[in-house]
Symmetry: C2
Subunit: 208 residues, 2 copies
DNA sequence: ACTTACCTAGGGATTTTCCCCTAGATTTAA
DNA sequence: TTAAATCTAGGGGAAAATCCCTAGGTAAGT
């Protein structure tokens, strides 16, 4: 018997999930929450085996709850359910220590499977997403050694604010040529060839 | 008795809706679809009073089906259900002739109310969205400027890919000066002053 | 002590962007 | 059927970015 708590600010999704899981006798839903506050309170009463967590809870990004959840309930398995299908975003979530990820489009049978896998201590990622993540495995490895230095990160931030070399030079008390050098080395590391691609890549990789 | 067809590529949402509406005896769900093709076929068999339509159907934007739906089934009421809560986007949908809009976060009672309203020929917008649309009435003037034309959107996409004016000119068979003009008018509309801010703004506003 | 990475700065040239304009053709809305 | 918006294209010039380089100082590890 696996106990479940659901946290999602869309009642429709909550009832949808409940309905899906009704058929499985080994899964028992013990809590339903629509807000982060309600969730944290509920966990104090009783700790489920698996938490089905939507990324968007009314007004707050539930990912911000992760560190707290992990610290207070280290044995709690967290299965994130969301609409996002960007492999980079999901990879970041997994890095943050969630135990599984599925989209809201998952088939009932797979959801049950996901819960069981996560419960058993496996990391579960919905098959379709898993494929897409595989497709981005190489860029993922690349991204690791594409680590920017402190100065480069600093300049990246300002570039992303729309500052030009001269603005940045003034703010950091540097020559604009120095800023240019940093900028070009950022381009090289992130394998982009202009500022537009840089901003996009930085956003996708969560560098800003 | 109001007959309903549901079109949503997320089984979870479909079962959630069905579950929500089970309690209401005056509402009868006669069709469930996960793809646009299935939907169009189903409508040929039997026309429901109200169509609950998700914006995202497997692989296609269901909004593209609107003209066809309206032409073939002028008496069909279309209630769009989605996760989008951007008032501007919703206003555009209403302009395109949908009869109602709710998010997936709607309460069961309100969903039933929405269906009844739409069935009776009213335009229904979820209360929370309605408020936010009201709140954007004044900036609506500003937003009018901020709406990009077709050509501008096209160029925005390419700019976000890192193409420069010359690349874009070649791809679209234009002069690079023309591309430049479009680019500058995009800058003006989005109130940015260079490509870096543009990419960032476009990402944040979901324009790409 | 020595290599390596990092930060700094610049010369010089080319390409692209950015800013100020005008202006005709076409499309759309009032 | 006007009026307004959009799409097209360009002149001319200033500013910035991009692409070649070199090179000294500093900091960290081996």
């Amino acid at each position: 018997m696996i106990t479940i708590a659901i946290a999602d600010d869309h009642p429709m999704v909550v009832t949808g999930i409940c309905n899906m899981l009704q058929a499985y006798e080994d899964i028992h839903i013990i809590q339903r929450h629509h807000t982060g506050a309600s969730l944290m309170q509920g966990l104090q009463q009783q700790i489920p085996d698996v938490l089905l967590l939507d990324i968007h809870l009314a007004g707050l990004n539930s990912i911000t709850l992760l560190p707290q959840l992990q610290q207070q309930y280290p044995q709690l398995k967290i299965l994130v359910i969301s609409s996002i299908d960007n492999p980079f975003v999901i990879r970041d979530l997994l890095k943050k220590g969630i135990h599984g990820y599925t989209t809201k489009g998952i088939q009932p049978g797979l959801l049950q499977q996901a819960i069981v896998e996560v419960y058993k201590g496996q990391i579960y990622v919905e098959p379709m997403i898993r494929e897409r993540m595989l497709a981005s495995v190489l860029p993922a490895a690349k991204e690791t050694d594409a680590r920017l230095t402190k100065r480069e990160m600093e300049i990246l931030q300002l570039l992303c604010d729309g500052d030009n070399n001269y603005d940045i030079a003034e703010k950091l008390f540097l020559s604009h040529r120095t800023v240019e050098n940093h900028r070009l080395s950022i381009y090289f590391k992130l394998e982009v060839k202009n500022i537009a691609q840089l901003i996009k890549t930085a956003q996708i990789q969560g560098l800003i």
